[in-house]
């Protein structure tokens, strides 16, 4: 173990490792012998204390770690518990609070990778947990102290998209005193709201709502609005983005911003080839909305068909807003012409929440008819009638129409793909942007400094888009109201002495964090952009690229302990 000896010599002080074994209630302790693992850990080399906790992540568990760091003069801590993805930051910062360098913390996953997958094999699971702990201890001995990376922050925000979500974000950010650049592709702000007539559930006028929103945002002196413009290029990283905004005519404008909001919205699907869509007697809800708005609506027998081009194999998702749109418009038709027959053919009426469900009751009260159709028996439109199988009475029914209205889903805009590449942000299979965490971080991207709100993420009502737009403002405030940016030191470094400039790493890097320096014929890592994934280190043929915290010496120690 010559390597180990060397590692020890390099360290100026004696290695003192503390090991904490978490029961995770019964998640771990229910399936393996935590006590035995703890006793085993206590005897491993360099380990000076080993403890078992009911929940190491609880306040009591954390207090125990911190106490042990002081009492046992620990300079390495290993927690054997769950996933570092969820809990490493907590344990690291707790160690730091107790005076230990947080990068001397190591974790062994004995829950997700052990107790949960070996539930019926108590003895084997216990042995595997011991292996994992032994490997973790071996690696911990070779960890090196690191310093967090710091960078400056530009207190200015780029908002892409001037619909409800984007305007709300811009207005709120400006209200907090930040400078905002709002870029809208069209010649006027408002997005889809421009095309709407009245809004569910209260029937407020879309124009009034929009003009109020626009007034609020235009009255802020710290919001610069670029309509008829596109974002052309984006470089840089959180705190220090450089963006180019291209107006329809003239030169591109260069701006520096600290954060970026993606609020490009979505558009209603044009149902080409579906149910005989012709834009005349078979139209979309959006077209009906226009007719109602212009006062051009004239029809006595209206049939609305829900889920047109949605909840089907090509587009599995439910678009959330089409049912309420149909009910809203059905009621407006009834309001204008109480004699009109309005039929809604649906699969599930998605009138979630308080007021929308009430709309459904009210619409029924006004005489709007709702009938279910089964997905495998869609209605047929033709010859002036809509035919459908009424499952409740088991009969085929025919409804005469003079207007068929197709409820189509909101679909991602074409530009979404381009933005996805420009900003290196992921999209889901439907081309809606994919947030960092579906439940806990709905407005963040995994890419730091870039945020999402409104229908660009997933179809949203006007109210929801506003909530999310405001929400993004506070997400950004948590970044830009700090004096400087502090990020993890677990990043790659490239040794300039041995790098031959082959650029193999550049191609592998998913974050665009590596640049080639022509003059020196070497590659360099941008440590703010680097997420520490290690692709470069794995690729580099000369072992010049190394990932801090995962250097060969550290990993080999872990592997050899197996």
């Amino acid at each position: 173990m010559a390597e180990k000896e060397r590692g020890k010599k390099e360290a100026s002080e004696e290695t003192r490792i503390g090991v904490f074994i978490c029961d995770c209630g019964s998640n771990i302790a229910g399936h393996l012998d935590c006590k035995a693992v703890t006793e085993y850990a206590a005897k491993l080399p360099d380990v000076v204390c080993a403890k078992e906790n009911l929940y190491t992540c609880s306040e009591a568990g954390i207090a125990e770690i911190q106490k042990a760091i002081k009492e046992h003069k620990l300079n390495r801590v290993l927690v054997a518990s769950c996933s570092p993805r969820t809990h490493q930051p907590l344990f690291q910062s707790s160690c730091a609070q107790a005076g230990m360098n947080p990068y001397l913390f190591e974790m062994a996953n004995i829950r997700d990778q052990c107790s949960w997958v070996h539930m019926q094999e108590r003895e084997e699971a216990t042995e595997k947990a011991k292996d994992l702990v032994r490997m973790g201890v071996a690696k911990a001995a070779f960890l090196e102290p690191q310093k967090d990376i710091e960078a400056s922050l530009i207190p200015r925000v780029l908002v892409i998209g001037g619909g409800v979500a984007g305007i709300s974000a811009a207005e709120s950010l400006a209200g907090m005193g930040l400078e905002v650049i709002l870029v809208e592709k069209e010649d006027q702000l408002g997005g889809v709201l421009n095309q709407l007539h009245r809004l569910a559930p209260d029937g407020d006028g879309a124009d009034e709502r929009l003009s109020h929103l626009v007034d609020t945002v235009t009255s802020k002196s710290n919001v610069k609005i670029h309509t008829g413009s596109l974002v052309e290029s984006v470089a840089g990283y959180i705190g220090n983005f450089e963006v180019a905004i291209r107006p329809k005519e003239g030169e591109a404008l260069k701006e520096k911003v600290g954060c970026i909001v993606v609020a490009v919205g979505a558009v209603p699907l044009e149902p080409k080839g579906l149910y005989g869509y012709d834009g005349k007697t078979i139209i979309t809800q959006a077209e009906l909305e226009q007719q109602l708005k212009r006062g051009a609506f004239k029809a006595n027998n209206v049939v609305m068909i829900q889920c047109v081009g949605a909840r089907c194999p090509e587009r599995e998702y439910c678009s959330r807003i089409c049912c309420m749109t149909a009910v809203k418009n059905a009621m407006l038709i009834k309001e204008q012409n109480p004699e009109a027959q309005v039929h809604v053919l649906y699969r599930d009426m998605q009138m979630y929440g308080t007021k929308k469900e009430r709309m459904l009751w009210d619409a029924r009260g006004q005489g709007v008819r709702f009938d279910v159709y089964e997905v495998d028996q869609p209605p047929e439109v033709g010859g002036g009638v809509v035919k459908f199988e009424q499952p409740l009475i088991g009969e085929k029914r025919e409804i005469p129409y003079d207007l068929v209205v197709l409820s189509t889903p909101l679909v991602a805009r074409e530009e979404a793909s381009m933005l996805s590449q420009l900003l290196r942000i992921p999209m889901d299979q439907n081309h809606f942007f994919m947030e960092a965490h579906a439940k806990l971080r709905p407005l963040d991207f995994a890419t730091d400094g870039v945020f999402v709100c409104g229908s660009a993420r997933y179809p949203a009502t006007v109210e929801e888009a506003r909530s999310q737009g405001l929400g993004v403002a506070s997400r950004i405030a948590t970044v830009l109201f700090k004096d400087k940016l502090v990020t993890s030191a677990i990043v790659a470094e490239i040794n300039p002495e041995t790098c031959v400039g082959c650029q193999g790493c550049m191609e592998m890097c998913p974050y665009g964090a590596i640049v080639y320096i022509r003059e020196k014929n070497i590659c360099e890592v941008n440590t703010i952009l680097c997420k520490g994934c290690g692709c470069c280190a794995a690729t580099c043929p000369s072992q010049s690229a190394l990932l801090k915290g995962f250097k060969p010496q550290q990993l080999l120690a872990q592997i050899r302990a197996m």
Partner: protein
Amino acid sequence: MLDVGRHPNIELMAYSDVERLEGEAGDFKVTVRRKARYVDEDKCTGCGACAEKCPTFVPDAFNMGLGERKAIYSWFAQGIPSTHTIDAENCRQLQGKKCGICKKTCEADAVNFEQEDRVLELHVGAIIVASGYEVFDPSPIPEYRYRDIPNVITALEFERLLSASGPTGGHLDRPSDLAAKAEIATLEKKAKKARKTLEKFEEKFGESSSEFFKRYEGEESEGDEDRKRWAEKYRDYLAVAEPLAALKEKAEGFTVAKKLAFIQCVGSRDLRFYPFCSGYCCMHSIKEAIIAYEHEPETRSVIFGMDIRAVGKGFEEYKIRGGNQAGISYVRGRVAEITEASDNNPMVTYEDTRERIVKSEEFDMVILATACAPSKGINELAEILGIELNEFGFFKTDESQPMDTTRPGIFTCGCAHSPMDIPESVAQASGAAARAAQILLESEMRKAS
């Protein structure tokens, strides 16, 4: 939760009530009552030694009464803060009896029976009301007989049964079976005690109780006082042992619940209770059915609903996956009645709207997806804060300014606003924070200029 608990700018006041509010946006004075926990927050490390030693068992509200906790307790193991609390109503010491075991056990000397409520005054610029909701208690729905039929439970109770740290360690033991097992434990204790008494007689007279009793019964109460008492004790023993044996035999047949019925809109979309749709229940039923299937691949679930409202990102896809891969079938309709069939199986009567016939089907367990009701104290809180409620009983807001309540400077989010799921609540919470920050910063800027 932990992030909030550890954030340097957040002071947590758990176990506290807001009592009074004065002032205006940018300059509020809030009176807060910090209720006595009888445990010093600064000293308690949350180690739980006190709860381990406390002799008083209380039904555990966190586990929906399916398990037990002690009179000194923390709400649940990962709760923030981890400070324990004595529940004064159940604590022997605080009820004037002799005890104090927790105080003796606590190494941090954190237990303080003399602690009193403290009333504080806070000076704040903005207020966010995130007081959540109440899960509807389905007992008033006569046709579902929630209280009568043990294996009809609520989704939240089912959630606790599914939880690895719940009262059954994640096994889907049926409540009727759990009750039988608890009864077995009680009877066993009694039988053991009775057997000990009998052993004394057996030793004294050198004969087994059963043989003695056979003879004694035959000779019709012959014998001295001692023998009379022995016979009496043996009768007592039999009164316990016989039902115990029967129960034990029955318990051998217990298996985990594998055939599940989920009933949607229990108390929601129901004009007798709450007219609104609670939004998230379709998804939690699908989730619970999928998890049950993951625990036990023989699980088959039926979800009964008027509409299955899988209205969120990835939700419809999840619903389809549940149907294709997790043994879930979806039946459109409202369940008319639940009765009890043999073996404590609930029987669900419903109209199958596809086949157009009324059916009755037995299940191992029925799970009620109960409504998201306005929280119980919401009227009082609204009055204290001087903000209005809407016709549904949640805090009133405007569509155009969704997090603003009717009083400037007070914002709301999550299910105090209206029923919603986690991502929406999180997004709204961020929005409420932005609104609060905005008015604080604007009032600062005004002051500065």
